[in-house]
Each structure stands twice: as C-alpha cells, then as structure tokens.
Amino acid sequence: MAQTTDKKISANNHFAEEWVGRIYSTLCVLVLVTTIVAMVYFVASRGLSTFFKNDVNVLDLLTGLKWSPEGQPPLFGALPFIFGSFSTSMLAALIAAPLSFCAAVFMIEITPRFGRKYLQPVIELLAGIPSVVYGFIGLSVIVPFFRDVFPGQGVGIAAGALVLSIMILPTMTTVATDALASLPSGLKEGSYALGATRWQTIYRVVLPTTLPSLMTGVVLGLARAFGEALAVQMVIGNAPFVPRGLFESASTLTSAITLSMGNTVSGSAHNNALWSLALILMVMTFIFVFIVRWLEKRSKL
C-alpha cells in the first residue's frame, strides 16, 4: 500500500517535473517571440508616423533625392541613403565573396589540416574585432591611402565597402567552409577518378553543387554589412547625396541614423523620419532572411 502511494507520488513528481520543464522552455520561446513582436511594433509605430502624422508621402520618401529635414519646406528623400546602403554592402559582398570562397577551398580542399588549425581561428578572430576599432582603422589607414591614390577625399563608398568586406569575411567564410565540408566525398572522388584536376573538380563539381549554400553566406554577409553602423559612419563621409563616384562622400541608412538621432527631439518630423529609416532597415532584414530561406530550400533539393 505504502509502496503504491510512493510510486504514485514519484510518478506525480515526474509528471510535475516534465510539465515544469515544458512550461519553462515554452516561456523562454515566448520571450523571444514577444521581443521581436515588440520590436517590430515599436519601430513600425514610430517609423510609420512620418507618413501618418507628418504627411510625408511614402513614395516621396523612398524615391526622393533631397534630404533636408530642417529646410523650408522640409524634404525627406531617403533614396541617397538607400542607394548608399545597397551599393556599399553589395560592393563589400562582391569583394568578400571570392575571398571567402578561396579561403574555404584552401581550408577544405588544399590543406585541410593546416587550414582548419590555423586559418579558421584567424578568420574567427576577425569576427571578434569590435566594429569601432574597424572604423578607427578605416579612418586612420584606408581613408588617407585612398585620398593619396585616388581623386577625391578618400571617404566614400569604396572606403566603406572595403572596411565592411573585412568585417563580413568571417561570416561568409564560415558558411562556405561548412558547405564545402558537407559535400559528399563520393562526388569529388568520382570527378578525380574521371581524371579531372583539382581545379576542374572545384570549378565544375564543387562550385555548382554548393552554390546555393555559398549564396546563403553571401546574403548573410550582405545583411550584416547592411546593418553595420559605426564603422561605416566613420569612413563614408555622410553627405546626403547619391555620389557621382566611388570616392565621393555618401551616406547609408545607418550612418544617417547615428549622425542625427541624438540631435533631434523625439516626436519631431526629423526624428520620425529617422525612425522611418530604421523601419526600412528592419524590412530589409526580413527580406534578407526570406532570401536566405529560399536559398536554403534550394540547396536541400
């Protein structure tokens, strides 16, 4: 009798414990979901008030070329920032993509031992260097170098893209390395057995099969470059115009926000417009994530 109650109690305990665990882990997920819902709600409510309260036309904001929020009348054309963000991050991805592919090939195909042991930690270290330090180095080394070598003041999309490309290199390399490593070895061996050289194998077999995964890495890097703020702001020049060249002062969404957010008072049209820029950044994050998902689905096929 006593034994059965004991058993019952312990069964109850088990049952309770299971439920505590279940509820706990569910709550943790709820926090996660609440956070993002709150974030989307708040940024959207601020960002959209530009259109509802300050009567700025959405199209004007997205396609307008002139950004002069303190002018008479105030103009909120954010196209220069959007253009700047896209061109810097895409250029950065363009520079970093071949580099990261080469690094991944080096680590997986050429010297797996040495590469994994030395190159990988080195590249992971790059990820750990704070963006402030990157910006400072960009301002102290890259900008003066560009100023001496190319026409212009050294600041601009080129300088921003170069700094960003180093920053996103680790993300892209990690994804590329994982993709190459997960390739079934039969594929490569088959290619070698047919008499193909290593490069032919890489170029004809490895690259096409891993392309969707590699693209995932590129998009992830692109997303990171798109959202980077301080490092870019220090080297890009921040003139609110679509630049006429790679070496002319330009702006990105993030640099416009960091530059003016502290100077404007909450609720003013200028401040709301900056929140709209943040909203654009957020929407872009969603778009990047959807592209990544789409690519991942393709790589599974």
């Binding site: 665990g21 997920v29 030395y118 330090v133």
Partner: protein
C-alpha cells in the same frame, strides 16, 4: 587553350595567395592595433578612472563595466537561450508555429545593432524608465545574444547520439529529465565554447549600447559592494560606459591631450580580451570534450 594542369596550378596558387592575403590582413590589423596600443598599457592605465581634459586618464571603470555588463547579459541570456534552444530542438512540433519561431530567431540574429539600440532607447530607457543603465544595456545585448544561444543549444543537443537519448527514455526517464541530465551534459562542450564566442561579440558591441547603457560612468566607489547604492560598481541601474563605447567617445569628442593614445590603448585591451575569449573557448571546449569522453 591552356593545359588543365597549368590551370590547376595557377588556380591553386591564387587560392593559396588569397588565403595568405587574409592572414596578412589580419596580421596587419592586429599589428596596427597592438603596436600602437601596447606601449600605452600599464597597470595604472587599466585601473585608474578616465580624465576628461587632463592627460593620464585610464580605463578602469570602463573595463569593469564591460566585464560586469557581460556577466549581467549572460545571466539573462544563458537560461533563456538554453530554455528556448531545448524547446526548439526537443519539444517543438513540425508545424507553422515552429516555422514562425524559427523565422523569428533568424530575423533576430541578423537585426542591425543600431535598430536594437534604438528600440532599447525607446522601450527600455524611456518607456520603462530604466534610464541609461547597465540593466537596459544587458537587455539590449540579450536581444542579440539570444538567437545565437538558441542556435548553439540546438546544435549541441543535435550532436547527442540518438542511442543515448533513447536509452534514457527507455529507462523511464521523463523527457525533461533526459534532456537535463543526459543530453545537456553531453552537449555542454559545444554550448560552453559557443557561449564564450558569443560573449566576445558582446564585449565589442558599441552601437546598441550608445543608446542604452549610456556614455558616461558615474563615480564608482570600489569599496561599496551594496548593489543598491548608486555609487556601487555592482548597481545594475547605474549608467555604464563600456570599453567599446569609450573608444567611440574619445575618438569623437575626446578633449584630453592624450586621447589618441588612450583610444589606441583601449583598442588593444579590447582586442586582447576578445583574443583571450577565443582561446578560452577553444581550450575549454577541448578540455570538456576530453573529460566527458574519458568518462565513458
């Protein structure tokens, strides 16, 4: 038309060259930071408070703030992240809601830090009245770290051999018990090294903290360890300037005559710390792995 062999050699050379270039860039970066900064490092520099106009200021409070903020963030992130990771890998059913949560995790992990900072300013600092404080900063950093932790936990749990998990379940252990006492210990090396790497990233974050933890450090009394006292270093509701934010501030507004050297020195400290984090993560991961596999 070149011979395939020649092409292969050229391609190999190019790839090795690029790999070498990456190493060179990193060596250059580290060299630049360390050469400029190391000369300025001293015990005094690491412990004394900063000066706003006179030369000779240190980074003591900033270094402490960075570490304390890290601890605070981890205290919030680790239980939450592991909990959510367990849910995602063990409890979640394959349905639309799980898909949605996975999307949330992905979006959260690539959110621009500046947007997180602004969100923190709006909601945590202003709306909830936390003010510029360590706690607000830690919550903002949690937003970054949480998706990482979730992913790391999931990875760790997935690496547990299925037989082990099924054996535990077959013995009549509840799922929760199986997870906490069988699977988590096995996954621990991966979780720990992942956590430390994530911590390194927290250490260098500045953009989000500018708007949440603030840009100044009140006078700290390092003999007052009562967390509720406003001058206590342990008070989580005081504003706190971290090392990365301090570098940003003195680079942009520094009035002290030796601002450039302080920035260089602080950068060196920051990079060395991140380096230590990386090494620690590797070492600890390997150490625990060896320990757990030896136990078998």
């Amino acid at each position: 038309m070149m011979k395939p062999k020649t092409v292969d050699k050229i391609a190999t050379a190019v790839i090795i060259g690029v790999a070498g270039l990456i190493v060179l860039v990193l060596a250059g970066l580290l060299g630049f930071i360390l050469v400029r900064g190391l000369g300025h490092l001293s015990f005094d520099f690491l412990t004394s408070p900063p000066e706003s106009i006179r030369a000779g200021g240190g980074i003591g409070p900033q270094l402490f703030n960075s570490l304390f903020l890290l601890v605070l963030t981890m205290i919030i992130t680790v239980p939450l992240g592991i909990g959510a990771g367990i849910y995602m890998s063990e409890y979640a059913k394959a349905n639309k809601i799980t898909d949605f949560i996975r999307l949330v995790v992905e979006v959260l992990s690539s959110f621009p830090s500046i947007v997180v900072g602004l969100f923190g300013l709006l909601l945590l600092v202003n709306y909830f009245g936390l003010g510029f404080s360590l706690f607000a900063g830690a919550l903002a950093l949690t937003i970054f770290n949480l998706p990482l932790m979730v992913r790391i936990t999931e990875q760790g749990l997935k690496s547990v051999p299925r037989e082990q998990k099924e054996a535990a379940l077959a013995l009549g252990l509840t799922k929760w018990k199986t997870i906490t006492s069988i699977m988590l210990p096995i996954a621990l090396p991966i979780i720990v090294s992942g956590t430390i790497l994530a911590a390194g990233r927290v250490f260098g974050e500045a953009a989000a903290l500018l708007f949440t933890a603030g840009m100044s450090s009140p006078r700290l009394n390092f003999s007052d360890w009562n967390p509720l006292s406003p001058v206590s270093p342990l008070n989580p509701f005081r504003p706190a300037e971290t090392l990365a934010v301090h570098i940003w501030k003195i680079n942009s507004e520094g009035l002290a005559p030796d601002a450039a050297e302080i920035a260089a020195g602080a950068s060196a400290v920051l990079v060395i710390t991140v380096l230590l984090f990386n090494l620690l993560a590797r070492w600890l991961g390997r150490f625990m792995h060896r320990k757990f596999t030896a136990m078998k």
